[in-house]
Symmetry: C2
């Protein structure tokens, strides 16, 4: 028996983390303004899957001397840092055969974590005879500029300023180009892969660096979740739909619970009642924090509503939303809303059943995701915190002013909310890319709340949307299991088929050019 | 009668400019290492063309508050500067009709100068009902960061560091996006135009910002003159070919003259002989400088070997290479090589016949091109200074080490010679763009020495190379004249036709999307 904190309430911690998120996200009106950490912050190493006990031998760890600033030429720009990348040569056919190179464009966290959660690349590498490379995103994991010292790198805006998506893409371009030279593999085609923010980077990389990557598999990449392209209600609407689709009663119970919690928290001994009902450890309780803790469970369960048991923050059963609603609809619980909700929360926080009490005050960040808060305060202004009247969460309006105030207060920085669409586009993407670009797969699972900001329709013959009605957040990139449903097997087959075609076409073009 | 200096030996000055070019370009071995200023530095306002006496009324001058650093978010990046742009609304059909916007992506100099030399845009605007916008490149003309103070902006690497092509492209993206919003013209298609470095920027802009520009006319843009893609001998080879094609004797006389000048300069009273032969003013003479002065004449005459009289640095006759060779082949000059060369130089420096003596020591830079030297020391490492044994210039090898030494000495900066190809590509461009991208016209005239680094073959159905055997440096963008040969008229017609198709297709796609 242990407290949830130790088994990893990372997401909660990412949300609660006092120094980064508290003032805005968790002000008095928490439930209205909560913004989940970026999608992939949910993903965790599945340490014991497919009979593997550890990841030793799956990849070598290397470091690349990377330039700090690709876009300027002042003295600071010439500083360098050590960028980590993981490499697996087991399956590579080598440069003589121009065998392909599969590159994962790292997201906002430790690259080992992403590598370990991208089984698709390991599983398809033998078929493609592919070299596997996983590149860590600057400022995350062990790829910390300013001498590798995170305290320095994260100390102020002068140093944090270099944490941007465009610099990260240029890092990937530079590293891949040099790596190919060093491997004498100039003619090996590169395909980039990524999920969530990493998927956004993969798609953008293909669009901005077509001379380096012949194609991109961008899984669950909400590249349209910027500016006014996607409704700020979309995110919550999908979560609402997810729960409603399981059970109308489940949706109603959750929807009505927020006021009950607020009400109870205000009453004498109300917090004690809540603590008892939800088995909260004795160190900390607060109505807003409890709401945040529950909301986190609902949001991340929707994101990871996978068809097979998974092992993320905490082990989750297959179809966890169904399990949550089962707990809520449990006739033995009568009308005890808190007990029902506790049952639902248990699905997310305590499937194993060995948690004695839940710690609402856990600020740990084992995967180093804190930098996302800076990115959200500069480029990554993704309006997705609105709730309609029908939302499973309390109604609220998205307000950029809140973000601005938070970012000014915490970082003394002003976001550039239009920058991402200026740099990467997004508006009228069908018209723009209909006759421009090629070889991108956008995968989205419609149960994933981020799918609302994804590309859901084919744009051209080779800019393809694969949409899985029952899919969740980058489920396609995960290791396969024997229990995978047919649709998931089909998605992966389709992806392999498309990537095969890219590579064949590349070889054909290469032969013609020579 | 006046000295050449006052009528504008800009190119010479750009080449000689002590603070920027002297130590490397004009060291003891001048003739071996001379590098012409960038292509467009030759182009000058044709102030009296088509009966216009001045440019008043042709455009309004506006300023846009531009961000200093688009790719970082440190405090310096938030600084802004006033970016100049010129706008002409005379022909615009307006936002109601989604009439097009033609944007010139400014090069390394005063934007008025480029606007006045891009008659093609003014002449085609009525047909397209196009709004015309000419955006000045940061650090040039009146678009000077750091308070508009050029002394400050150019004072050291910390300030100059922000003078880069990627920042310039992001400037254009930001300005165009904002301008369209302000004009309520979100659906107006944007086509970008540029010649020389401006053409490179136009092509790259279409490739990097397809969501902002539907197509690009990139005229005489040597985007392949980087890294090892184009032979460093190509530039001189084309000049050699140009002169040889007029007259084998002309080529031989020039080719053999370099040693004679060197030899004479070393002898007693040799400089006096040279001064007299070439009508050099009394203030300055030197064998290397004289060679540089002649080389400049040959290089820039080749670049601007237009089929009609033009008015650049100095007025030039039609087919000026033919005129130069006429002077050299003049049978009345007997065997006097210097007299022949003086006749050739006269074509370039003194067509009007009113120059009494030539000033080798003119450092003026009326169009503010000095910043190119910085760009050539950071990103724009274009290997094009090699001469084979057959070259019209003395044989020499391109050596990156020379560039490096120069840049370290003058700026204390180290170039990143592989950056441009990493960021924008270039290697195997046919294979890369065969199935990626669309709507780019690459115009090249084969008499232009820069055409060796241009795209000379169609890459796809809509990435088109227009190659004019008799064309010179972005001749297509110039104002038309009554004397234009048929091939030039045809080139412009073809360009108009292609751009019309882009716009029609855009309207078609737009209608479908709505």
């Amino acid at each position: 028996m242990k407290a949830a904190a130790s088994s990893g309430s990372l997401l909660l911690s990412a949300l609660l983390c006092a120094s980064l998120f508290s003032s805005w996200f968790f002000s008095t009106s928490f439930a209205k303004h909560v913004v989940p950490g970026f999608p992939s912050s949910i993903v965790r190493p599945e340490q014991i899957q497919r009979s593997r006990d550890d990841w030793n031998g799956l990849y070598e760890t290397k470091y690349y001397t990377q330039i700090l600033d690709h876009f300027n030429f002042n003295p600071t720009s010439y500083k360098t840092f050590q960028q980590r990348y993981l490499i697996n040569r087991t399956y590579w056919g080598g440069p003589k055969h121009n065998s392909p190179i599969f590159v994962y464009t790292g997201n906002e966290g430790d690259i080992e974590w992403f590598a370990q959660n991208t089984g698709f690349m390991f599983e398809t590498a033998p078929h493609f005879k592919a070299l596997l490379v996983f590149i860590e995103h600057r400022f995350y994991g062990k790829s910390i500029p300013f001498g590798g010292n995170k305290d320095v790198a994260y100390s102020n805006t002068s140093t944090l300023g270099y944490l941007t998506s465009t610099q990260a893409l240029a890092d990937y371009a530079t590293l891949i180009t040099d790596l190919k030279k060093n491997l004498s593999a100039l003619d090996s085609p590169v395909v980039v892969f990524g999920g969530s923010y990493g998927g956004m980077l993969a798609a953008w990389f293909r669009l901005k660096y077509p001379h380096i990557a012949i194609g991109a598999l961008a899984s669950s990449s909400p590249i349209l979740n910027f500016d006014d392209i996607t409704s700020p209600y979309s995110f919550s609407n999908i979560i609402t739909r997810d729960f409603k689709s399981e059970s109308e009663n489940c949706y109603k119970v959750i929807r009505e619970s927020w006021q009950q919690i607020e009400h109870t928290a205000k009453h004498q001994r109300g917090l004690d009642i809540l603590r008892k009902s939800f088995r909260i450890c004795k160190n900390y309780i607060d109505g807003d924090a409890l709401q945040g803790w529950l909301r986190t469970a609902f949001v991340y369960t929707a994101m990871t509503d996978y068809p097979t048991p998974s092992n993320f923050l905490n082990p989750l059963p297959a179809y966890p939303i169904k399990q949550m609603c089962k707990a809520i609809d449990d006739p033995t619980k009568g009308n005890d809303t808190f007990e029902k909700l506790h049952g639902a929360a248990n699905v997310y926080y305590n499937t194993s059943g060995d948690v004695s009490c839940f710690d609402l005050n856990d600020n740990s960040d084992p995967h180093g995701l804190g930098g996302w808060s800076w990115q959200a305060c500069t480029e990554m202004v993704m309006p997705m915190s609105g709730d309609t009247k029908e939302s499973i969460f309390p109604a609220s309006e998205y307000a950029y002013a809140n973000r601005l105030a938070y970012c000014k207060a915490v970082y003394n920085v002003e976001p550039r909310p239009s920058w991402i669409t200026t740099e990467f586009g997004g508006h009228n993407i069908e018209t723009v890319l209909k006759r421009f670009g090629s070889n991108v797969i956008f995968f989205n699972g419609l149960r994933d709340p981020w799918s609302g900001g994804g590309v859901l329709k084919n744009i051209s013959k080779s800019i393809i949307a694969i949409v899985a009605k029952e899919g969740a957040h980058h489920v396609d990139l995960r290791y396969s299991t024997r229990e995978d449903p047919q649709w998931l097997q089909d998605v992966r087959k389709q992806e392999v088929h498309i990537i095969s075609n890219w590579i064949s076409q590349y070889y054909h073009d290469l032969a013609q050019a020579q």
